[in-house]
């Protein structure tokens, strides 16, 4: 299964995202999920970034929250246009959590 996960929040990923398994798992940070790409809590980067090598974050949501500097280097910024292509082109199913 090629699964694209739109992560829209910063808390409580243990019961959902962190348990999911897929042949290809893409993580697309949107809404308050984009904090995972920047915020270090007690010096540690978010465990969400360790879950997959396929990491994206929505540029508009990064900019809205004042996070443009110091986004983790593993995370690729994408536009809404890119997101449409990811949804149809790279993943068979998409979820929003």
């Amino acid at each position: 299964m090629k699964l694209g996960v739109l992560v829209s929040d910063y808390r409580n990923m243990e019961d959902t995202l962190l348990r999911l398994t897929a042949d290809t798992l893409g993580i697309i940070l949107v809404s308050n999920g984009v904090y995972h790409a920047k915020v270090k809590e007690n010096g540690k980067t978010s465990p969400v970034l360790e879950k997959s090598p396929h990491l994206y974050a929505l540029l508009e949501d990064i900019q809205t929250r004042g996070l443009e500097n110091e986004i983790d280097g593993r995370v690729k910024s994408i536009t809404y246009n890119d997101l449409v292509d990811l949804i149809f082109g790279e993943y068979e199913k998409v979820i929003w959590i």
């Binding site: 997101l83 449409v84 949804i87 998409v94 929003w96």
Partner: protein
């Protein structure tokens, strides 16, 4: 081209999830895809006509109505969810349909992708 069904559920107005869903639909339609847009629960708020534009809120009625004109976008509100909130037929934004919940599942049947935006 492909079909995307977006279902949006909880509290939309005052939340940027609303803008996300509409912007994604807009980008998909501009790329030639078709989009079905379902609002249920508190998200039926989006279907209320005559929302006044304030700088503290997104004003999306115009974008929605332009999307509807393309013929590749249909927006439908859950009828029971709307009625429970006091949104009757005459309260509904022009072009917004109202159906029972099975409409969303039927839309999913023929969709290439379904993005269900739940949450609180």
């Amino acid at each position: 081209m492909a079909k995307l069904t977006i279902g949006v559920f909880s509290s939309l107005v005052g939340s940027l999830s609303l803008d996300f869903a509409v912007k994604l639909a807009d980008a998909a339609v501009k790329k030639g895809h078709s989009v079905d847009f379902w609002v249920s629960g508190n998200a039926t708020m989006l279907s209320k006509k005559e929302q006044r534009a304030f700088k503290d809120y997104s004003a999306l009625q115009k974008t929605l109505q332009e999307l509807m004109k393309t013929g590749n976008f249909q927006a439908t509100a859950c009828e029971a969810c709307a009625e429970a909130r006091g949104y009757h037929k005459e309260d509904t934004m022009e072009g917004f349909q109202r159906h029972s919940m099975d409409w969303y599942l039927a839309s999913g049947f023929s969709a290439d992708r379904v993005l269900h935006i739940g949450g609180d």
